[in-house]
Every structure is written in structure tokens, then in C-alpha cells.
């Protein structure tokens, strides 16, 4: 019902606000109601997250499991936890934490972990990944130099509580186990430019979607570190016989970690990718030129995973 987005002010300050989506769109379309793409319906502004004291807002995210009352926003070097009051008309700063250090530290991205009763938040600033406990607003883990360059985005594995994916300017996607932060569990290096977005599929966490400014969207199958047991797909020849328009899916039993498909429909940098919240086989990507591409997981693979 309620959506959160960052909008630019006429000042150079980025702010965040809470909007209400019109009822008609409620059915779960996940398009970003950006100023530019707002069409017939207008959004109802509920409240602003007041961040003038903290600098540029870089990222806002909902508490994933809660009743929609908590929001984390990242502003410059602060983590702000907001409590939305009755009917979301007012946001109150519940607690905050800030990152101290030499130079200008700016958060670039943050995600709320769906595990641990939603008490963990992971953030990225520069080349470092940090985990925070929202109850005490203190740092619980830190991956120094997670990427060679700026970390652009991160996402939690929805089914494995300690697994985290991150991506950055070094063209890599890395998978981390937050219990052992000294080295990544797995590294993908498929993109040829900065990776802006990484997203786990909500229900099948072996499917990982990444979007990059090399204008490609890559769907990877990370079987080896997913929650699906290995070698779980035993006999599937008949299925691949029916559906063989995707040659990548011919691989037998224990699927190797592999790139399933590379989507090159975009002409310019892809800045956002997201899975559909309604259909686990649907995903969308958005690029600089304003093109929104909706794709479907190849059907053969879908059956492969389901059966």
C-alpha cells in the first residue's frame, strides 16, 4: 500500500518521503511511481522523512516482515530508523547511528535482513559492507574491502539467514557468509562494468539477478550456495525434452553454478532490477534511457527447479 522513494529537491539535498499509492494500483504492480513515470493517478504524500540534519538521503528501505511501521534510511554517514505513526502520517526518528572515520564516509546502499526477526540491517559504504543491529544500532559485522571499488548494492538471501550478496564497481558480484567475513563464498565476474543491482529471487534463492551499467541484466543460477539441496533434481530429461528452446538448461542433475541468461535489451546502463513480488518467475529491469524490460525466467529452468 505504501511505497517509499527518494526524490530530489530543488536543493542539492536528497530527501525521502512516504507516499500512498492509489488504491487502484494496489494489486501489486511493482513499478516505481517515480515523478517521471507517474501517469494518471497521483500519489498521496503522507509524510517526509526529515533528514535535513543528516545530509543526503541515499537509500530507504522497509522493514520486510513488520507491519509497515519501520523504515531505515541511510543519509550520508548516518543510519536512521524511523517509526511511522498512526496511518503513516508522521515519521518519528526512533534511533540513529553514525559511522565515524577519516574522510567522507557515505552510505551507498542498505538492506534489511529478513531473518533474525528483522533486527539486522546491512549497509554498504565505499568498499566496505557493514551489518547493524537495529535494536542497539551498533555494528555487528564488517567486511572491509568487500569489493575492489565502491559497493553499489547488496541483498540478503531470503532463505539462508547468513548469506548476503553484494555488487560493486569492480564488476563483481560476491556472495558472503556473514559469519565468516574474511573472504567471499563465491565470486561472479560476468559483467563488464559496474554492477548496480543484485537481487535474490524471493522464493528460489538460487536465482540471482544483476543489473549493470554495461547495459546487461544477468540471471545466474547459484545452485551451490542456495538453500535448495544439491543433486535434488534427479531425473529431468523428459522435461528438457519438451522445452529445449533454452540451450543453457540442458545441464544434467546437479546444476552447476551458471549464468542462465544474459538480457541485452537495454541500450544504456541498467540501474535497477527487481523480482516481481507476485510471480516468482517474473522480473523487471530499468535502464537509463527509461526503458523498463520485464522478463521471465526461462520455462525449462522453471520446470527444472519446480519438479
Amino acid at each position: 500500500i505504501i511505497l517509499c522513494c527518494s526524490a530530489s529537491d530543488s536543493k542539492v539535498l536528497t530527501c525521502a518521503a512516504v507516499w500512498r499509492m492509489p488504491k487502484e494500483l494496489e494489486s501489486g504492480s511493482h513499478e516505481s511511481p517515480d515523478d517521471s513515470s507517474s501517469t494518471a493517478q497521483t500519489l498521496e504524500l503522507l509524510c517526509h522523512l526529515d533528514n535535513t540534519a543528516h545530509g543526503n538521503m541515499a537509500c530507504v528501505t522497509w522493514e520486510p516482515m513488520g507491519d509497515g511501521k519501520k523504515v531505515i534510511s541511510l543519509a550520508d554517514n548516518h543510519i536512521l530508523l524511523w517509526d511511522l505513526q498512526e496511518s503513516s502520517s508522521q515519521a518519528v526518528l526512533a534511533s540513529s547511528a553514525s559511522l565515524e572515520g577519516k574522510g567522507q564516509l557515505k552510505f551507498t546502499s542498505g538492506r534489511w535482513s529478513p531473518h533474525h526477526n528483522c533486527t539486522q540491517v546491512a549497509t554498504a559504504n565505499d568498499t566496505t559492507l557493514r551489518g547493524w543491529d537495529t535494536r542497539s544500532m551498533s555494528q555487528i559485522y564488517c567486511v572491509e574491502n568487500a569489493h575492489g571499488q565502491l559497493v553499489r548494492d547488496l541483498d540478503f538471501n531470503p532463505n539462508k539467514q547468513y548469506y548476503l550478496a553484494s555488487c560493486g564497481d569492480d564488476c563483481k558480484v560476491k556472495f558472503w557468509d556473514t559469519r565468516n567475513v574474511s573472504e567471499p563464498v563465491k565470486t561472479l565476474e560476468e559483467h563488464s562494468h559496474w554492477v548496480w543491482n543484485v537481487r535474490y529471487n524471493h522464493s528460489h534463492d538460487q536465482l540471482v539477478l544483476t543489473g549493470s551499467s554495461d547495459s546487461r541484466v544477468i540471471l545466474s543460477n547459484m545452485v551451490s550456495i542456495s538453500s535448495e539441496p544439491f543433486g535434488h533434481l534427479v531425473d529431468d530429461d523428459d522435461i528438457s525434452d519438451q522445452e529445449d528452446h533454452q540451450p543453457e538448461d540442458k545441464s544434467k542433475e546437479p546444476l552447476q553454478d551458471s549464468v542462465i541468461a544474459t538480457y541485452e535489451e537495454h541500450e544504456d546502463s541498467v540501474y535497477a532490477v527487481e523480482w516481481s513480488s507476485a510471480d516468482p518467475w517474473l522480473f523487471a529491469s530499468l535502464s537509463y534511457d527509461g526503458r523498463l524490460v520485464i522478463n521471465r525466467v526461462p520455462r525449462a529452468l522453471k520446470y527444472h527447479i519446480l519438479l
Partner: protein, 782 residues
């Protein structure tokens, strides 16, 4: 005469038969006589037919014919012949009869004489035989007499002979008895004199007899005496045996005597081995002392010499003596000896290995090889003697192990040398920055590194080659002929080194904490070139050299040259790509900082190109020079002559000449979007971090692509004011002016820079572009 016709009508004279006188030719007559004889004996008619043509043989009138009929003949004569002729016939007949008679007479006389003489002879023979018979009879009698005499003599002598035999037996017995009685004193004497051998021999001789007759009291006494003395003897021998000071041969003698005295062999052999062990252990401990914790140990050659002569020699002696003495012990004894040798040998090997391990640290390869050679050679003798103890095998194993370790050591050495080279290069690269003056050129450094690495490899090969030299005793072992050459030297050392070199080089790419990295980019470049050189020439050269020096006979698979080359090429490519990334990152960071830190909304109207852009161009030029030192120019696309003059053109009509209509006006932001989309339909996608080729242009293209893409992305994140946009315009134009010459395809630069300006325009609150002419003026002034 008248009687003639009457007496022999058969005498009828045939007219054709005897016309001649009585003195008729004898051959004729003789033939007639023969013919008649023949007829008489019934010889063939043919013979008769051979006679001269004459009267028919059946003619009854033929006087000489078989069918002569006197009546017919007479009738014929009487009828046919006149009287005169008859008369002639009659005389002729008479004459013939007479001749025949005389012939007969002569024949009878002749034959009678012969018969007489034959009879005489027979009679004589008869007489002679009779005489001989008599003599034979006499001989037989004589023989009988002789036999008789002989029997009588034998009978007479029999008795005496028996007595003599008996006497002789008694004599022998007496002598033996005397020996026995004297035995104790003799033995004592022998023992006193130390002639143990003699004593033992006496004892052995007497033993059996004494044993047999021990029921007799006197013999018993002797035996007891002997036993006492023997016991003493044994004791003395044992003592001597145990003293240990005596050498191995004397001990062996003692043992031999003791064995002859019937001492239990097993016990003796145990004792013998224990003694030998004592001696050998002394040797070992002296060796160990040499080994000692303190370094002033003798060099390894001396050590192995010492060990060889002391321990191995001793072991040889012991083994030889043992096998001689205790051959009777059978396989159990041999096993004991083998175990003994194995144990001591094992300890010896342990010592040697410790000593050799000390040598591993470095030192002279030739000395080591010689020492190993001695060691191996010395052990061949006991090895042959004691095949079961496996000494030779163990020795070979040690040698092999040492050789292997040596190879490992050399590999380490090579790696260290390579790393040392790299450190030198680093220092050389760092030096000019400190002093500010030109250091040695990159090309020179590269040559230095390459030659020093190569010389190290050659030195190592030469050192390792000693192991396979012909005169070294172990060089003909299968290991050294096959595996050592192919697996050890070729694979382990050379291929291993190349692998490790590539890995070392690649590790520079992988260092995660990049940020410019601790590795100077020039080093990356240099390594990349080095690897490329290896790929093209050096690897095959080194491998050929190795294969020549070590005639590889082993059939085991070896890494082909092509695989190594591919690896080296891959490494070179990765290094170069990494170089591009690093350098691109340096410039990107510069651009990014410059974009991010500036407040683009409130900038003043641009008057200058920003210093960052100048810096970027300077750096790019520096990189260009650096890469140019090591890599060839490469191909670039043909360029239009007005490249540098090309006006900057987001909003100007010259943009993307001929691609689309220049009817665009800045008032409609949606159109900008459309515009860029359309434009992109026509331009190829730019692969930013694409792999680079081995040439300068490709390298620089890569770097510039990375930088400009960064600029683009950064610009898209900012919000610009009018002058901000104009500043971007100016900067981009400046970049375009100077960067096109570095890249393979200048379109690429144009495209990216256009994109930057377009993005800036999109993010601009008040997009009013600067006049292209003004932009140009500013750039030229800057």
C-alpha cells in the same frame, strides 16, 4: 687188323671225317673229344651246333655224332665206297684207334701221378697231427701239476698272512691309543701355546673315539681330561672373542673354532652379531659426532667417505664373515643377518640423511653429487652381499630423495631469483620517482629480468645435470634415466618454474586490496611483456635446452610446450588487462572525485578547462609513453582529418554527421531521451572492460574507455546548473581534443563524450549549452 672192323664196327671210317693222315691236326681231334665229353655231360645242343658246317648231327653215319649207328655206317660204307676207299678207311680207322689208345694212356698216367702225390701228402699230415696230440697231452699234465703246487703254497702262507694283518691292526690301535693317552697333555700344551686351531683339530679327532669307548674306565679318564681342557679352551676362546678389541678376522677365527668345538651355532651367531653391532655402533656414533650439533662438521664428501670406509666397510666384513661361518644356519641365519644389516643400515641412512639434509640449504651441487656417488658406490658391495637387507635399494632411494629435494631446492632458488628480480625492478621503478631523474628504461629493465632469469635457469639445469653424469654410479638407475629427467627436471623444475612464474605474475592481478595496489603499474606492464616474450620464444627455447641436456627417455606424459605457451599468454593477457584496469582506475578516481566533490549547481561560468582534465591528459600521455616502451603501436582505425577540429556537439548540428537530422532544440527533455535512444540504435555497444590486445593502442583504448565510462556514470548521478553543464561541455571538448590520438577508434571517444554531455544536459536544471565556438576558444586557450 681184320678184327678191327669186327671189333669196332663203330670204327667205320667216315669219308669226310678224317681225310688227313694219322698225324691229323690235334685241334680237330681235341675238339672232337671235347664235343663228345660235352655230349656225354648233356650240354646244350647249341654248343654242338656251333660246330663247323658238316654232317648233320643227327646223321647216324657221323662217326663223332651222338647218334652214330655202326650198322648204318658200315652199310653206307659198303654200299657207297669202293674197296680202295674202304681199305683207306680201315687203315685210317686203325690209326685213329691207336692214337686214341695212346692218348688215353697218357691221360691216365698224368692223373695217376697227381693222385699219388696227394695221397702222400695226406699221409704226412696224418703223422704230424699225431705228434701234436701227444704234446698237448703233456702240457695239460704239467698245468695240473702247477695248480696243485700253487694251492699247496697258498695253504702254507695263509696262516702267516693273517697274523701279519692282525699285528698291523694292533699297531694302528696302539698308535691311536698312544695319541689318546697323550691327548690331554698335548691339548694343554696347545692351549698354553695359544695354538687353538691345533688343539681344536686334535680334539675333533679324538672326540668320536672317546665317545665310543667311554665305558672303559681308562678312556673315560682321558675323555674327562679332554673335556676339562676343552672347556678351558672354549672359555679362553670365548674370552678372546668377547674382548672385542681384536679385529673382525680374529673374531671370525674364534667363532670358527668355537663352532668346531660344537658350541651352539645360534648362540654364537647372536653373540657374533652383538659384537659386530658394538663395533659398527662405534662407527655410527663417531659419524654422529661428526654430524654433531656444531657446524664445524667436515664437508659432506668427507662425511660420506668416512661413513663408507668405516661403517659400510665394517658391515661388509661382518656380513662376509657371517655368511662364511654360519652358512649352516640356513635361511634363519640369513634372515638374522639381514635384519641386523637392515637395522644398522637404517641407522646409518638416518645419519646420512641428516647430514644430507644439512646440505640441502645450499652449497655446492657437484660436491653433493660426488658425495652421493661415493655413498651409493660403497653400498653396492654390502648390497650385493645382502640382497635381502635391501641396502642398495634403500641407498638408491636416499639418492633419489636427495635428488628430488635438490630439484625442489632449485625450484625454490629459481622462484626466489625471480622474485628478487621483481624486487629489483620495483626498486628501479621507485628510484626515479625519488631522485626525479630518468632511471633505466623499462625495456632495459625487461632485458635485465629476462636475462637474469634465463641465466638462473641455465645454472640450475647445469647443477642438476650433474646427477645424470655418466661417471656417477647411480646415474644408470632407472629413476635417473627416466623419471628424474622427465618428471623431475623437465616437469618439476622447468615447467614448475614457468607455472610458478605465471602464478606469481597472476597473483599481482588478484590482489584484492587494489586501490591502485601495491604493485606499480609499470611492473604489471613489464611482467606482461615478459610473459609474452616467454610465450613467443623463451619457453620453447628452455624446454628444448632441457630436452637436449636430459635425453628424456621416459614415456610418461609431459606438459607440451603449447600448454605452457598458452598459460604464459594467458598470464600476459591478464596482466595487461589488469594494467589497463589499474591505470583506468587511477584516472577514473581522479575524474570521479572531480565530479563528486564539486557543487555543480553553483559553479561560475566556465573560463578554463578544469585542471583535472589537464591532469588526465598528462597522465594518459605518460601511460602512452610507458606502454610504448614495451609494446608495439598496433592498428588504429583510419581517422578523418578533422578529428581534432571536430566541434563538440550535443546541441550543435554537426553531431554524428549524417546520422540524424539536426533539428533538435534543447527545450524538450523528452526529445533528448528519444535522441539518445535513436543514436544508440546506430552505435555499437561499448564493452568497457573488454580484453585488450598486445599493443599500445589497444591498451590505451581500454584505459580511456574505462575512464570515460566512469565520468559518464558520475555525471549521471549529479545535478547540474547551467554553468555546470557548460563546464562539462568545455571539459569534454578538451578531452576530445587530446584523447583521440591514443585510441584505436576515435568514434568511441566521441560517442562516450557525447554521452557525457547529453547526460549532463539531462541532469541539468537549466540546460543552456555554450556556443561551440566559445568552447573551442576556451579549450585552445587552456
Amino acid at each position: 687188323t681184320m678184327a678191327a672192323p669186327a671189333a669196332g664196327p663203330g670204327h667205320g671210317s667216315a669219308p669226310g671225317d678224317s681225310p688227313e693222315g694219322p698225324e691229323g691236326e690235334t685241334p680237330e681231334r681235341r675238339r672232337k673229344a671235347h664235343g663228345m665229353l660235352k655230349l656225354y655231360y648233356g650240354l646244350s645242343e647249341g654248343e654242338a651246333a656251333g660246330r663247323p658246317a658238316g654232317p648233320d648231327p643227327l646223321d647216324p653215319t657221323d662217326l663223332n655224332g651222338a647218334h652214330f649207328d655202326p650198322e648204318v655206317y658200315l652199310d653206307k660204307l659198303r654200299r657207297e665206297c669202293p674197296l680202295a676207299q674202304l681199305m683207306d678207311s680201315e687203315t685210317d680207322m686203325v690209326r685213329q684207334i691207336r692214337a686214341l689208345d695212346s692218348d688215353m694212356q697218357t691221360l691216365v698216367y698224368e692223373n695217376y701221378n697227381k693222385f699219388i702225390s696227394a695221397t702222400d701228402t695226406i699221409r704226412k699230415m696224418k703223422n704230424d697231427f699225431r705228434k701234436m696230440e701227444d704234446e698237448m697231452d703233456r702240457l695239460a699234465t704239467n698245468m695240473a701239476v702247477i695248480t696243485d703246487f700253487s694251492a699247496r703254497i697258498s695253504a702254507t702262507l695263509q696262516d702267516r698272512h693273517e697274523r701279519i694283518t692282525k699285528l698291523a691292526g694292533v699297531h694302528a690301535l696302539l698308535r691311536k691309543l698312544q695319541f689318546l693317552f697323550e691327548l690331554p697333555s698335548r691339548l694343554t700344551k696347545c692351549v698354553e701355546m695359544g695354538a687353538y686351531g691345533q688343539a681344536v683339530r686334535y680334539q675333533a679327532r679324538a672326540q668320536a673315539v672317546l665317545q665310543q669307548y667311554q665305558h672303559l674306565p681308562s678312556f673315560r679318564a682321558i675323555q674327562d681330561d679332554c673335556q676339562v681342557i676343552t672347556a678351558r679352551l672354549v672359555q679362553q676362546l670365548r674370552q678372546r672373542f668377547r674382548e672385542g678389541s681384536s679385529g673382525a678376522p680374529e673374531q671370525a677365527e674364534c667363532v670358527e673354532l668355537l663352532l668346531a668345538l660344537g658350541e651352539p651355532g645360534e648362540e654364537l651367531c647372536e653373540e657374533f652379531l652383538a659384537h659386530a653391532r658394538g663395533r659398527l655402533e662405534e662407527e655410527l656414533s663417531s659419524l654422529e659426532a661428526e654430524l654433531g650439533p656444531s657446524p664445524p662438521a667436515p664437508d659432506v664428501l668427507e662425511f660420506t667417505d668416512h661413513g663408507g670406509s668405516g661403517f659400510v666397510g665394517g658391515l661388509c666384513q661382518v656380513a662376509a664373515a657371517y655368511q662364511e661361518l654360519f652358512a649352516a644356519q640356513g635361511p634363519a641365519g640369513a634372515e638374522k643377518l639381514a635384519a641386523f644389516a637392515q637395522e644398522l643400515g637404517g641407522r646409518y641412512f638416518a645419519l646420512v640423511e641428516r647430514r644430507l639434509a644439512q646440505e640441502q640449504g645450499g652449497g655446492d651441487n657437484s660436491l653433493l653429487v660426488r658425495a652421493l656417488d661415493r655413498f651409493h658406490r660403497r653400498l653396492r658391495a654390502p648390497g650385493a652381499l645382502l640382497a635381502a637387507a635391501g641396502l642398495a635399494e634403500a641407498a638408491t632411494e636416499i639418492v633419489e630423495r636427495v635428488a628430488r629435494e635438490r630439484l625442489g631446492h632449485h625450484l625454490q632458488g629459481l622462484r626466489a631469483a625471480f622474485l628478487g628480480c621483481l624486487t629489483d625492478v620495483r626498486q628501479a621503478l621507485a628510484a626515479p620517482r625519488l631522485t626525479g631523474k630518468e632511471g633505466p628504461g623499462l625495456a632495459e629493465l625487461l632485458a635485465n629480468v629476462a636475462s637474469s632469469v634465463l641465466s638462473h635457469i641455465k645454472a640450475s639445469l647445469a647443477a642438476v645435470h650433474l646427477f645424470t653424469a655418466k661417471e656417477v654410479s647411480f646415474s644408470n638407475k632407472p629413476y635417473f634415466r627416466g623419471e628424474f629427467c622427465s618428471q623431475g627436471v623437465r616437469e618439476g623444475l622447468i615447467v614448475g618454474f614457468i607455472h610458478s612464474m605465471c602464478q606469481t605474475a597472476q597473483s599481482f592481478c588478484d590482489s584484492p586490496g587494489e586501490k591502485g595496489g601495491a604493485t606499480p603499474p609499470a611492473l604489471l606492464l613489464l611482467l606482461s611483456r615478459l610473459c609474452l616474450d616467454y610465450e613467443t620464444a623463451t619457453i620453447s627455447y628452455i624446454l628444448t635446452l632441457t630436452d637436449e641436456q636430459f635425453l628424456v627417455q621416459d614415456q610418461s606424459p609431459v606438459t607440451p610446450v603449447s600448454a605452457l605457451c598458452a598459460e604464459a599468454r594467458e598470464t600476459a593477457r591478464r596482466l595487461l588487462t589488469h594494467y589497463v584496469k589499474v591505470q583506468g582506475l587511477v584516472i577514473s578516481q581522479m575524474l570521479r572525485k572531480s565530479v563528486e566533490t564539486r557543487d555543480w549547481l553553483s559553479t561560475l561560468e566556465p573560463r578554463n578547462v578544469r585542471a583535472v582534465m589537464k591532469r588526465v591528459v598528462e597522465d594518459t600521455t605518460a601511460i602512452d609513453v610507458q606502454v610504448g616502451l614495451l609494446y608495439e603501436e598496433g592498428v588504429r582505425k583510419a581517422q578523418s582529418s578533422d578529428s581534432s577540429k571536430r566541434t563538440f556537439s550535443v546541441y550543435s548540428s554537426s553531431r554524428q554527421q549524417g546520422r540524424y537530422a539536426p533539428s533538435y532544440t534543447p527545450s524538450a527533455p523528452m526529445d533528448t531521451n528519444l535522441l539518445s535512444n535513436i543514436q544508440k540504435l546506430f552505435s555499437e555497444r561499448i564493452d568497457v572492460f573488454s580484453p585488450v590486445e598486445f599493443n599500445k593502442v589497444s591498451v590505451l583504448t581500454g584505459i580511456i574507455k574505462i575512464s570515460l565510462k566512469t565520468l559518464l556514470e558520475c555525471v549521471r548521478l549529479r545535478t547540474f546548473g547551467r554553468f555546470g553543464l557548460q563546464q562539462v561541455q568545455v571539459d569534454c571538448h578538451f578531452l576530445q581534443l587530446y584523447l583521440w590520438r591514443f585510441v584505436a577508434d576515435e568514434e568511441l571517444v566521441h560517442l562516450l563524450l557525447d554521452e557525457v554531455v547529453a547526460s549532463a544536459a539531462l541532469r541539468c536544471l537549466d540546460p543552456v549549452p555554450m556556443e561551440p565556438s566559445v568552447v573551442e576558444v576556451i579549450c585552445e586557450r587552456g
